[in-house]
Point group: C2
Chain length 211, copies 2
DNA sequence: TCATAATGTATGTGAGTACTTACGAAACAG
DNA sequence: CTGTTTCGTAAGTACTCACATACATTATGA
């Protein structure tokens, strides 16, 4: 088993190649399944046996792609964020009326929690005693916050009303989405109520006035 | 070992008492330690061995007080909420100026996450595939929401401005606190910034105007 | 064809895991 | 004291976990 990545000076090994590796392809193929499993079962609940079962492979296949379970989880978190962000970007690029921030809120009020992906973030937040997981969560929420702030700042230039600074409003939007998800997850908010929540509070936050 | 609770018709056993039970006292003594352990380690991370170690007792002592680990977790959740609510009530009763909702927000902006207790709620949300845990989380967030809504409704009668309905504002406040905690937990929000977040957005939500 | 390296399947393995049992000592009522 | 119950400590149980090994198969470049 030749080392795949060499740190420092790369020792050019004899390039006696055998069968070509398909790990990257395998990785991309497995990650959505892995992410869903972590999302549904939590970090400890998603056992390596269960991950393998859902992927339709043996456990050691997973261990050939990632060094350990934690790496699988970190990859899953990354995937989930990339997925969400690309979704929002395509929403923004799809053209439409209204400013970016309100369109994203509008989109989320209809589709938020649809894939249950946000649950993996609760899982991550419950595992922040691990330094690497904490760092990953930090990066995700940091990117999330920066993305929203940029959208909010872009719109507020055209705004008629004085608002809270975009930086704070972005955090409030994160909280709004989180609360909506909690309410939905626990059956405390029906779909209509949740939509009303995001729409009404969204307007208060972004435009400084109630509906 | 006589049955402690008899369902249905209570069969009055011979009252040949031996050593008096101190389970209730023990329960109250252990619960804060248990809650802290679940808070720091998560549901699966807090093993029964670790719980016992932190309590300074053997595992079976815990199993004499609660039937299983899940019951310990549910008791811990209950404790955390009772603790928070009684804290808020004493804040409200301590007298002071301003309306209830703003005083609670003000208090939380200074002490939120001080005990790290909110983390146990993330843990619970990550275990909602279990029906009992889900139900417990539902009850806690339901009570939390009702409490906040009552405070907000009480103040809004004297309010000069039109606001979002108290029901929705209460959810937004829950989200605001949650976002503040996430930011704090991950080191994305310093103490001053977090306070500014809760103060500024709190005013937008409750009074419909920026600072 | 042949050496090389990746693949798939099956089967460990040692360290936990929640939960239990055994048993002597201590604390009450009569 | 005596019978009864709880208490504290220690050890054990059946099982699951993340992760490892063994080995035959398959695909490649030379």
């Amino acid at each position: 088993m030749a080392p795949r990545t060499c740190r420092g000076k790369v020792v050019v090994e004899r390039a006696r190649v055998g069968r070509p590796s398909q790990q990257e392809q395998k990785r991309r193929e497995l990650i959505p399944v892995i992410a869903r499993a972590f999302t549904e079962l939590g970090y400890r609940g998603a056992t390596t046996a269960e991950l393998a079962r859902r992927c339709g492979v043996q456990e050691n296949i997973l261990y050939r792609v990632w060094p350990d379970k934690k790496a699988m989880f970190l990859a899953a978190i990354e995937f989930v964020y990339e997925f969400s962000e690309s979704t929002w970007l395509s929403v923004l690029e799809s053209g439409g009326d209204g400013d970016p921030a309100r369109r994203i809120l509008e989109f989320e009020s209809r589709h938020h929690g649809e894939f249950g992906h946000y649950r993996i973030l609760f899982t991550a937040l419950g595992e922040t005693d691990d330094a690497e997981i904490r760092e990953a969560a930090r990066r995700i929420f940091g990117r999330f916050h920066r993305f929203l702030r940029a959208q909010i700042a872009a719109r507020s230039r055209r705004s008629r009303r004085a608002l809270a600074p975009p930086e704070l409003t972005a955090w409030a939007a994160i909280g709004l989405g989180t609360a909506a998800n909690i309410g939905r997850e626990l059956g405390l908010l029906g779909d209509a109520e949740r939509r009303r929540l995001m729409s009404t509070i969204g307007r208060v936050l972004l435009e400084g006035e109630a509906s």
